[in-house]
């Protein structure tokens, strides 16, 4: 029987604010355990939360970028459950009035077709601390001891809930990468799943093709990379199909992904689900988000990747493919724009970025902003080539130097003696030398094989260490050979 897969994702994203959501503690990854904690985020008696305005701003930025409607009146609620890494034994979250609702994200599938995935809501909440269970099986009930690190407790966390719009694990994967790209782009989160700044729970169900009603879903947890989300969903898709195929029923439950075994296993059934006893947080006033504030934040929002790609195609006349590649990260596309400001030649900038520079970045596994090369330097170098100060071949050497060590291209060129040789006086003897040394090639040329001229250009270039101006060499060669 043919089944259709239905997937919805709940994605938690830590906002990269300087401080935590409700106190002044620094928000930073990988600090010494419990060094970033204060009486407020430790939930000591009598202390009260105060909302970090910047976190709400970043949340609104994300909501705008994801095309959400932003509620003018939203509020915080308490989600009550016991766990030692949650200092108050309740989490300040949002229940029925989240900051943002009704957004969407467009994904592009490998066959080039596009699909819009709906976003139900995005709400703001505080993150919990971390537990490390020592000894025993690794669960809190069976371990000998538990170590608690509250550095993460109170870090602002956005929960992005999608509509059940995805129809394959591949679509879920694309949705996640798309989400990461846009949140990275607007600078609200680094979205590193390995470090936990992006976490994902997946809901998946199957239904017979053509049916409108959803099947019974399972929720999958414990995936620690985009790939494992895809793998877990692929496994679960197959598992559910087999159960249904054999006349069985899917039970509504939470299942954990076991990466090493490549399987999902039941964690708890629907009956064991928590009753979180949500109620409005009495320590915080409701959030009133004015239209003016949203407009102001919207104005400061950077141009979004799709808009920028379209503009690169339209204004810079870049090929669609190049425009796509160069807008995968905001840093790359900003780099291109800044270089274009200097040299006014988008095609050349794009060529360098797509060839030598991309190669270098791939080899070294670094991002453009982590190299020594600056956008204005690249623009300057392109200007030097266009003016004839250096040859394109020298350009390749120069770019490698700039990526590795940085520096001022004019000075490097001068110091290394890389300035292009264009004077006839200097080049003529070298041309003559090449002709004299290769009588066979001269014969071929004169015999009608005009392409042999390339060989002589190569010889002169070699003799000058690539510095000869190929145009000038060509001119002299033609004249001398015809003599």
């Amino acid at each position: 029987m043919a089944y259709e897969t239905v997937i919805g994702l709940e994605v938690h994203v830590e906002l990269n604010t300087k401080t935590k959501l409700f106190c002044g503690c620094e928000n930073r990854f990988a600090a010494e355990p419990n060094s970033l904690a204060c009486p407020v985020c430790l939930g000591l008696p009598g202390l009260l939360p105060v909302v970090n305005k910047r976190a709400v701003e970043k949340h609104i930025m994300a909501a705008i970028a994801l095309g959400c409607e932003i509620l003018e009146y939203s509020k915080f609620d308490r989600k009550n459950y016991y766990y030692p890494d949650m200092p108050k034994n309740y989490q300040i979250s949002q229940y029925d009035l989240p900051i943002a609702i009704k957004g969407c994200l467009e994904i592009e599938k490998s066959d080039g077709t596009k699909k819009v995935i709906g976003i139900t809501r995005i709400h703001l909440e505080e993150d919990t601390g971390k537990s490390i269970h020592g000894g025993g099986s690794g669960s809190i009930m069976e371990s000998d001891y538990t170590l608690l690190d509250y550095n993460r407790a109170g870090v602002p966390l956005m929960e992005i809930v999608s509509e059940p719009d995805m129809r394959s694990p591949e679509e879920a994967y694309l949705y996640l990468t798309g989400l990461k790209k846009i949140l990275n782009w607007i600078g609200v989160s680094d979205c590193k799943m390995e470090q936990g700044s992006l976490r994902c729970d997946a809901n998946i169900s199957l239904r017979k093709k053509g049916e409108l009603e959803f099947g019974v879903k399972t929720e999958i947890k414990n995936m620690n990379s985009f790939k494992s989300v895809r793998s877990a969903l692929e496994f679960e898709e197959k598992r559910q199909a087999e159960v249904l195929e054999n006349g069985g029923k899917i039970s509504q439950e939470t299942r954990g992904w076991e990466e090493d075994k490549g399987i999902t296993v039941s964690m708890r059934s629907k009956e064991d689900a928590h009753d979180y006893r949500y109620f409005p947080e009495p320590d915080l006033a409701p959030l009133k988000i004015s239209r003016e504030w949203v407009d102001e934040i919207g104005k400061d929002l950077p141009e979004l990747p799709d808009d920028r790609r379209e503009r690169f195609i339209r204004e810079y006349r870049l090929p669609e493919y190049d425009a796509g590649v160069l807008t995968t990260s905001r840093e790359m596309s900003d780099f291109l724009e800044e270089a274009v400001v200097v040299c006014n030649d988008p095609k050349q900038v794009s060529n360098w970025l797509m060839s030598d520079i991309s190669k270098y970045l791939n080899e070294k596994q670094v991002e453009i902003q982590e190299t020594k090369l600056s956008a204005s330097t690249l623009g300057g170098m392109i200007n030097m080539i266009k003016k004839g100060t250096i040859s394109g071949k020298i350009g390749k050497k120069l770019i490698a130097e700039l990526l590795n060590k940085g520096g001022d291209p004019e000075e490097i060129v001068k110091k290394k003696g890389w300035i292009q040789v264009s004077s006839e006086e200097e080049l003529l003897p070298l041309v003559k030398e090449a002709i004299d040394a290769n009588p066979k090639a001269v014969e071929e040329y004169l015999g009608g094989k005009k392409s042999a001229i390339g060989f002589f250009v190569g010889q002169v270039m070699k003799a000058t260490g690539g510095k000869a101006n190929p145009g000038v060499v060509n001119k002299i060669l033609m004249r001398e050979l015809e003599k």
């Binding site: 000591l44 105060v50 109620f279 009495p282």
Partner: protein, 529 residues
Amino acid sequence: MESGFRFPFLISHFLPPVSRFPFPLSLLTSRLPLPTMKGRYKLNPINLTAHEAHEKMVSGEISSTELTKACLQRISMVEKKVSAYITIFPDLALKMAKDADERLKSGENVKPLTGIPIALKDLLCMKGKPTTCGSKILENFVPPYNATVVDMLLDAGAIILGKTNMDEFAMGSSTENSAFFPTHNPWDPDRVPGGSSGGSAAAVAAGEAIIALGSDTGGSIRQPAAFCGVTGMKPTYGAVSRYGLIAFASSLDQIGPIARDVKDIALCLDAIVAHDPMDSTSISFKKPPYLESLVDVDIKGMKIGYPVDFFGEGLDPGIRKSLDEARRVLEGLGAEFVDVELKSGDYALAAYYIIAPSEASSNLARYDGARYGYRNPTNIDVMDMYKKTRGEGLGREVIRRIMTGTYALSSGYYDAYYLKAQKVRTLIRRDYDRSFEKCDLLFTPATPAPAFRIGEKVDDPLEMYLSDIYTVSVNLAGLPGLVVPCGFTKGLPVGLQLIGKSFDELTLLKVGNAFQEVTDYHKRSPVLD
């Protein structure tokens, strides 16, 4: 984080918990011995108000050290009978008094509270001092921070004498729910002082402090003030910062003063009413100078609402008589009484006993033994730790309310209980708004009966809850309420409650002060020695 304050963030299921704080765990060691003062001081603080003491200190007639010593001496004399304090700081108080005397001598930065000995209800956090909230679960808790109000008192140069007894987590109306010992009513040691701020009210009534701070969630300042014959005020919700007040029910809790007269209440409000950016529910408003505004006040023509429904069945005849007399006194001063309807008050107690426990069930969830406070030493896993720690660390009434609140918030019951109670709350607020269209303030009894006997109601929680019948609706509406002594019945004090519009504490103080200018109930003291 404060230096010297480190958490062992390790839940070990096998190792016994380590004592984390550099002081003995038994509270009584910090309580006893009581301070002993040589000789008898001519000063008896029981006869002194803060504003009088202030004048005497400024004129040099007495020093803060003398006054503080007199309070400590009084404590050593009567505390065995009253048991108002959980912790007393004789050395710290005398050191603070010395500083205050220097301040007074230099004449710089002298505030009305400079040198005045004050007691704090033991749910107000004071840096480095045990803050127990009347509970075993916080018996060894020492906050590394001051509550905002404590900072304000310290800035003003007040002397902190100690921390007063209370019903555990402020849940109760008699101070019998303290995990440590009950406090006795100075007017009759067999009777309760009221609660939950019973220690604060008893301390002021017994002359063991000039002023005491309490907190009021459903009447916890006003009811004990009435029982102990002192003056007490619950300010408007949001007028005083709750930062550092250990929460019972966040949307109802409010800190306020208990004192010997209305002028001292005003003087204290001048010091503690302010917007606090650390408390998102604290409200910025233009506050009047309270004490200054009490000079030459004429309440002639003031319209006082008389909520007929508050004087119906269940009101003790002695209290009714005192209130009738108080009404005549105010009428004699030119105030006009108008009857008003406050029907929704009938539902206030029910709504309160849904909302307050609901919030409490969540607020008190943090006391789990994982980070601070009491932890059961024999637990075998985290669930066992939670169950035993909370089962042993929390008292019966607290557990009762946590269970009530947990139930009311549970899925399937939320709409029927919590949501409904919030709707009732809105109606109560509207009812008050409507009544204030006809009057400037309301006049009601503070309690249905005078102080009851210790043990009389401990086994009947509903009966106990009824002693807050006249006060809870004020918290639900967020309004200010002032209680002033207005008579005696069978030798026990009677309190009159004035309820005002939001942030109109001043009108209450004006009427209360006018009443005290022509009466002397607030000047009478219990005989204890």
